[in-house]
């Protein structure tokens, strides 16, 4: 168990270091003066020289990198060019929105996909299976933002059921419960579209896995013992298929983060993905670097959470034996 965790944590640290290094080096190999990536280019040349000293840009590169790593780990991201305020202040309000979108989309699409996949595997050739196979193969080729644009057109314009944009209404509703409801109302279409796009591939994968598992001997044994169908299905077959499903979860996470960027743009949500886009378009390099770092951090954190779930699901890891899957 310990070796499993150390390997995983080391891996996460490696990815984190890579993200920070990417941020550091990418913004420095840009054409032009390095100072313009940290200091607002509208400053006078004298001010820029002074800033060069203040930000330690005349130090050797190695030392600069160490300082940079320390700053990233303490969430000290510098001042945004566009708003002249600390970047972390801007990001603070956006991170919860992105987490809410990502979290709800992930949980709902994996839950729905898994449930449908198991149902489809149970009744081969049934209606559920046909729906699952069709939606899975189709959702892979439709661009996610296109589906979201169409949904937005249909359900916010043609039939005005949902808001056209934003995370919350302007003006904000008064009472606490009304605010929560308003937030959920704004979140429904974005998260719902992500679930719609995502559940298909989940369901197909789970269905294939379950079909294979249900053909194994131990299932036959369980049925021969007289166990009820539901128990055989969930407690035995699904339990055995769970680790690969969680591995899929892990592999899907970076994709979900990318999807969140597009979703936040389509629905104009107040999140980190849209902030990344706005800062890149506005050449606001401190903000862009910070937003990218936060997104990378979210991916790494959810990877570790998935690893934890994997350890719970696969007892062989806890016991410390070798995992053959």
């Amino acid at each position: 168990m310990r070796s499993y965790w150390t390997k995983r944590v080391l891996g996460a640290a490696a990815v984190l270091l890579l993200v920070i290094a990417a941020n550091f080096f990418l913004f420095r190999i840009m054409p032009g003066d390095v100072v313009s990536t940290i200091v607002d280019p509208r400053f006078s040349p004298e001010a820029k020289e002074r800033m060069r000293e203040v930000f330690g840009l005349d130090l050797p590169l190695g030392r600069q990198f160490v300082i940079y790593v320390r700053r990233m780990l303490t969430f000290d991201f510098g001042i945004s060019f566009l708003s002249q305020r600390p970047v972390w202040d801007e990001l603070k309000s956006r991170v919860p929105n992105t987490v809410a979108l990502l979290g709800s989309a992930l949980v709902l699409s994996s839950a729905l996909g898994t449930w449908l996949g198991v149902k489809a595997a149970r009744k081969r050739g049934g209606f559920t299976e046909k729906v699952v196979l069709l939606s899975g193969s189709v959702s892979f080729s439709f661009p996610s933002f296109f589906v979201q644009l169409v949904l937005l057109l249909l359900f916010a314009y043609t039939f005005p059921l949902f808001p056209l944009r934003g995370s919350v209404s302007i003006p904000l509703p008064e009472a606490g419960a009304a605010r929560v409801l308003d937030y959920l109302w704004h979140l429904l279409l974005p998260a719902g579209s992500l679930v719609l796009l995502g559940f298909g591939s989940w369901a197909i994968y789970v269905r294939n896995l379950m079909v294979k598992t249900l053909g194994e001997d131990f299932i036959l044994m369980a049925r021969a013992k007289g166990l009820p169908d539901g128990r055989v299905l969930w407690n035995h077959a699904f339990r055995s298929a769970l680790p690969p499903v969680l591995t899929l979860f892990l592999l899907a996470l970076p994709g979900i983060v990318s999807g969140a960027v597009l979703t936040e743009t389509v629905f104009s949500l107040h999140g980190v993905g849209k902030y990344l886009l706005d800062s890149i378009m506005g050449h606001d390099y401190p903000a862009a670097g910070a937003a990218f770092y936060i997104l990378g951090l979210l991916t790494i954190a959810s990877n570790l959470a998935a690893d934890a779930a994997y350890a719970l699901a696969d007892p062989r890891i806890r016991v410390g034996g070798r995992v053959q899957s």
Partner: protein, 388 residues
């Protein structure tokens, strides 16, 4: 089959298009000709010696413009005039003829003289005065009957073409055909680059085995855990929005899948008998890699290319949609970006949103189909190559 059709359209379509797709052809956000709803279709009629009255049953919004051009020949020398009667019963005199033999008429509803003749200020819309509502509007010639000539009445429609126009008045069908090119070009080039990278790295890693292989695979795992779109965005932000930069960036971040598959193939092949035979005959590693393992890996790579193109096309579409692509280049993702950012939703212009998206999906489906077919063909060969 569908693939060849797409190639044909992409390659041959743009040169066949009349005019420049970047040119405005009609009013902005004009709906398609076959589904305009309230937008009026084009109308033309004529006043001739035989029919001295044009009756129009108007069921739409007021047209953008009205032109009346032509010449009438009269034998008698007496005054005449053109009268317009609206559905609500008002009549307006559009033009008067003081007598003579030839009457040249050249009226355009946008002319200030025309508007002052109707009694409205120069910046008001003459057509909304002449078409106050739905119903029957009439243009009639009062006076003596002409003996020759004709006057043509033309009402340009508010609709256009097969797919309408965008926010700059450009024909969407032309944009669609030109956009196919970019999607295919970027998708295929980026995937070829990625497959080349993946093939070399995968073959090397699988053949070397041991520590080198473990290191490379660890690097692949780390690279796979970076969210793709954000890093693509950062690269575009730093490097610029050009088309070829996009291809290189996409290629640099999609080679991992191919590398993994090729690597597992190389790992299994390297233990096989025939590679051992080659080595005992004195064959060097490079020879084995390039003359034997490479051809063995080609079917897998081909399948990976065909399955990877949809990913590259979707990535390019995503980046264009966010606005991170060359603004001078028309691509389907860019069309969706302009639809989202320039008011297609407020105008309800579905024809700007549905065609590019469906185009992208169609191309992806075709490539996926092809990829699966290639995979099925490749599979028996994979099984055969392992244990020889």
């Amino acid at each position: 089959m569908a693939f060849l059709l797409i190639l044909a359209v992409a390659a041959a379509g743009p040169p066949m298009l009349p005019g420049d797709p970047g040119r405005a052809v009609a009013k902005p956000f004009a709906p398609p000709a076959w589904s305009g709803g309230d937008a009026p279709p084009p109308f033309s009629g004529a006043i001739t010696p035989v029919s001295r009255e044009i009756t129009i049953d108007w069921k739409w919004d007021a047209p953008e413009n009205l032109t009346l051009k032509g010449q009438l020949v009269f034998d008698e020398d007496s005054p005449a005039r053109l009268v317009w009667t609206t559905a609500e019963g008002d009549s307006f005199t559009l033009a008067t003829f003081r007598g003579g033999r030839f009457w040249e008429v050249d009226l355009d509803a946008r002319d200030m003289a025309f508007k002052t003749g109707l009694g409205i200020p120069p910046f008001a819309s003459a057509t909304s005065l002449l078409f106050p509502g739905r119903g029957v509007q009439t243009l009639s010639l009062e006076g003596p009957a002409p003996s020759g000539g004709s006057l043509g009445l033309a009402l340009p429609g508010g609709r256009w073409g097969l797919l309408g126009t965008d926010q700059r008045g450009r024909d969407v069908l032309s944009l669609f055909i030109v956009g196919a090119r970019v999607s295919l070009l970027v998708g295929i080039s980026a995937t070829l680059l990625a497959s080349l990278l993946g093939l070399s790295i995968g073959l090397t890693s699988g053949y070397l085995g041991g520590a080198a292989d473990a290191l490379i695979m660890r690097a692949v795992d780390v690279l796979l855990s970076i969210p793709v779109l954000p890093i693509l965005m950062v690269f575009v932000g730093i490097w610029g929005k050009g088309l070829w930069q996009l291809v290189v960036i996409l290629g640099l971040f999609s080679w991992m899948g191919t590398a993994r598959t090729v690597r597992s193939l190389a790992l299994s092949l390297r233990e096989s008998c025939y590679v051992e035979n080659l080595r005992s005959l004195g064959a060097g590693s490079w020879y084995i890699l390039y003359r034997h393992l490479l051809p063995e890996a080609m079917p897998v790579v081909l399948a990976a290319v065909s399955l990877g193109v949809p990913g590259a096309i979707l990535a390019e579409a995503g980046l264009s949609f966010l606005g991170l692509s060359d603004p001078r280049v028309i691509s389907w993702g860019r069309m969706l970006h302009e639809a989202h950012g320039f008011g297609a939703f407020t105008a309800g212009a579905w024809w700007l949103i549905i065609p590019p998206g469906l185009g992208i999906s169609l191309i992806c489906l075709v490539f996926l189909d092809m990829g699966r077919a290639i995979e099925e063909m490749a599979d028996p060969r994979l099984k055969g190559g392992g244990g020889r």
